[in-house]
Each structure stands twice: as C-alpha cells, then as structure tokens.
Amino acid sequence: MSTAPPSSPAGVLTQQDIDREIAAARKAYQAEGVPRQHPARDYPPYRSSTLRHPTRALVSLRDPEAAELRGPVFGATDVTDLDADLTRQHHGEPLGERITVTGRVLDRAGRPVAGQLLEIWQANASGRYAHQRDQHRAPLDPNFTGSGRCLTAADGSYSFTTIKPGPYPWRNHDNAWRPAHIHFSLFGTAFTQRLVTQMYFPGDPLFRYDPILQSVTDSAARERLVAAYEHDLSRSEWSLGYRWDIVLDGPAATLTEEEH
C-alpha cells in the first residue's frame, strides 16, 4: 500500500499557483512586445522580490566621464592555483559526477574580456550548500565546499573543474525545487558590465517550475543560461564537459590606442 504525500494545508501556495503566475507573467511580456533580456525586478512568482525591487523607473545616465565606464582590475594576488579546481580543495575527493565547465567571457561586440575575475559557488552533489542557513536534510560533503574563482585568459576563456550540483528544495512555495545550477559572478572592463547570474544544465525537468529561471521571461534569453553538454570536452574515464559562454551587458569606456 502506498502512502499518499501529505496534502498542503489550505492557504499554502502550491506549484500550480506559481505555474499560473509564471504563465501570466510570460503572457504579459509577450503582449507588451518590448524585448527585455534581463529578468524583471518585480517578478511576483519569486516571492522574495516583492519588497526588494524599486517601484520608480531607473534614471538613465549618459555621462562619458562616469567612473562606472571603468572598473576594478584583478591580478595574481586575487586567485590561487587551486581555486579553479573545486575537487582539490580538501584532503579527499568529493562525491558526485566530476565535470568541467569551460567557456569564454565576451562583451556585446564580441571582444574577449581578458584578465578579469570570475567567481563561482554551488551546492554539493546532494543539493546542499556549505552554509548554515541551508537546512535541506541532504548530507554535507567534507571534501567539498563549492566555491572557486579564476582570472579569464587573454582570449576571455575560463575553465573550472567541479562536481555537478544537485537540485535542492526552497521555501518560495510548497514543494519548490531549484534546478541544478552554478552561481557565477563576473567583472568586465567597466563597472557597468558587472554580472551575477546562474548557469543551468541541459534538459533539467525542473526548468518550467522554477520562478528564478523563469524570471527571465524571454525564452531565447532564458536558453542562454543553459550550458551545452559537449562530448569533446569530456575526458575519457575522468569527467564530463560542459560549455557556457557569457556575454556581458553594458557600455565601457573606449580605450585610446596608448591605453591598450
């Protein structure tokens, strides 16, 4: 005899409620007809956005002298050799599926973003973060913390070795699950190009249920958050390879010849 899952008490927000809101937001976006590739900051299906988005329009600033058209630089002291291999930060090997994530960081004109800091963090293979606030009853892995960093190479390329993170539950609504993802933080040549985002894995059945991924209402833009499995990046009897290229938004100062 099978045991029925516990039914939600009345008044609890269900996945069906969230599905309806996601569909409504997408329909509103399509009806509006104005392309928007970043997520709306006011995205009701993601409940935590309710009190954390501005209600006034952003003020557009066209200032060729703005400090924001330049940005911080990073160098050898900001990273160490082991930072790009999240499987070697402890005495033993972490549990899970070993993967590499490789790609290039470009600006919108397709120029490589070279020598810039890229930081990542993620859950372990069981879907648990090494963070006190994560109360998911999945095991911690003593051999995996899940944070790494690197500087992009001259051609804008980067590469991390890690393990595939697991999906995990959260409390946006009843039975809410995040698809597996890796958090990315990137700097460009200008502060305006700053980006924090998340990379997803192809074919995850949780995509349609997740209000964070779905906060990107443009479907083509949403697909750009999903890495590609690339067999040539896999290494025989060692690791599976994914490719994810990143394009930074925002203007940058035009450097003169001498400044190159």
């Binding site: 988005h53 600033l61 940005g71 930060q89 960093r149 933080s185 964070i212 990107v216 203007p251």
Partner: protein, 195 residues
C-alpha cells in the same frame, strides 16, 4: 542616433539573483579596506540596506568603485587577495589603492567600507547592490560631498530624489549612505545605456 544602434551581434547573458548562499564564496574580510593602512585621509562610508517595509536586508552585497584621490580610474589588483597556503583570504597589501570595495550586509542589514575620498570632479562612490530577492543588481551612487549645480546626474532630479544620493556626514565623521530598495524614500537607481 540612439535609435539606430545595430542589433548587437552577441546577445547578452541575463542576470539572476545572487540568492541566499553566497556567504562562503563572495565575502572577504578585507573587502571593505580600500584605504591604504594608516592613511590619514581615510573615510568610512556605511549604511543600511532596507526593503520596502523598512526592514533591514541581511543578505545583500554592496560593491563600490571610485576614482582615486588623484583622479585615476586605473585601479589596482588586490581587492580580494588570497593566500597560497589554503586558498583562503589574506589581508590587502596595505599600500595599493584599488578603488574597489565589497561589503556584505550583517544581520542588521549594515555595511561599511573604509576608503579615500574621491576627487572633486567625481565626488562619488559608484555602488552596485545585490541581494536575495533582487533578480538583477542595482546601480546607484553615494556622493560624499554635494557637488552643487553642474552634475549630469543630480541636476536632473527633484530635491527629494536627489537627496537619496548624498551621503550624510555623521557627528563621528563617518559618511552614512542608506540604500532603500523600495518605498517612500526609495534610492535613485541608475541605468547606463550604450553611449
């Protein structure tokens, strides 16, 4: 002219929220120590990040970028230094002014950086805010001195809105800059279109 921008060949990667679990990856104990050690001109800029109900936001990241006192925007490496022993954080070198700071809010929503005053022609810290619940970061500016008329950004704002961008000098000499994500005194947030 602005209407005729070509469709960029490379479509951008959308932002996603920083989420609640960045705490073992992004914070750096020296992230806010922008001023060289013992520098006599060092100033402290700090404040609280507040949500639309006036509640502190304990899971935000506030990053600052600014010109050096001599006007340079070249920056310098070493804002988030690491040690080569176990990859953990190490103090800044104490000498270089990198122009960049990263401060994470505490349980009371408070953040602070210790820096050098920006120059008179760019008398502000550029500020970028990330938080759980914020799907896409927000830019604003903390002016440490009121530049008066002639500032491209401030000139276009009414007095109350303009006020949200001016840090308040405190009796203890620090500069207070609260960031209100939403509500009556909502901070002015910025967008930087292609020039």
């Amino acid at each position: 002219m602005a209407q005729q921008l070509p469709t960029p060949e490379h479509p951008l990667t959308p932002a996603q929220t920083i989420g609640p679990f960045f705490g073992y990856a992004l914070p750096h104990p020296a992230g806010g120590d922008i001023a060289p050690v013992g520098h006599p001109d060092a100033v402290t800029v700090h404040g609280t990040v507040l949500d639309g109900a006036g509640q502190p936001v304990p899971d935000a990241v506030v990053e600052t970028w600014q010109a050096a006192p001599d006007g340079s925007l070249d920056g310098a490496p070493g804002s988030l230094p690491r040690n080569g022993v176990d990859g953990g954080p190490r103090p800044r070198n104490g000498v270089d002014f990198t122009g960049f700071g990263r401060a994470c809010t505490d349980a009371a929503g408070h953040w602070s950086v210790r820096t050098l005053p920006p120059p008179a022609d760019r008398p502000y810290l550029a500020v970028c805010v990330f938080a759980r619940g914020l799907t896409h970061h927000l830019f604003t500016r903390a002016y440490l001195t009121d530049p008066g008329p002639g500032d491209l950004l401030l000139d276009d704002l009414d007095a109350a809105r303009r006020d949200t961008l001016i840090a308040r000098r405190q009796p203890d000499g620090t500069h207070r800059f609260d960031i209100r994500l939403q509500g009556e005194k909502e901070t002015v947030f910025l967008d930087f279109p292609e020039q």
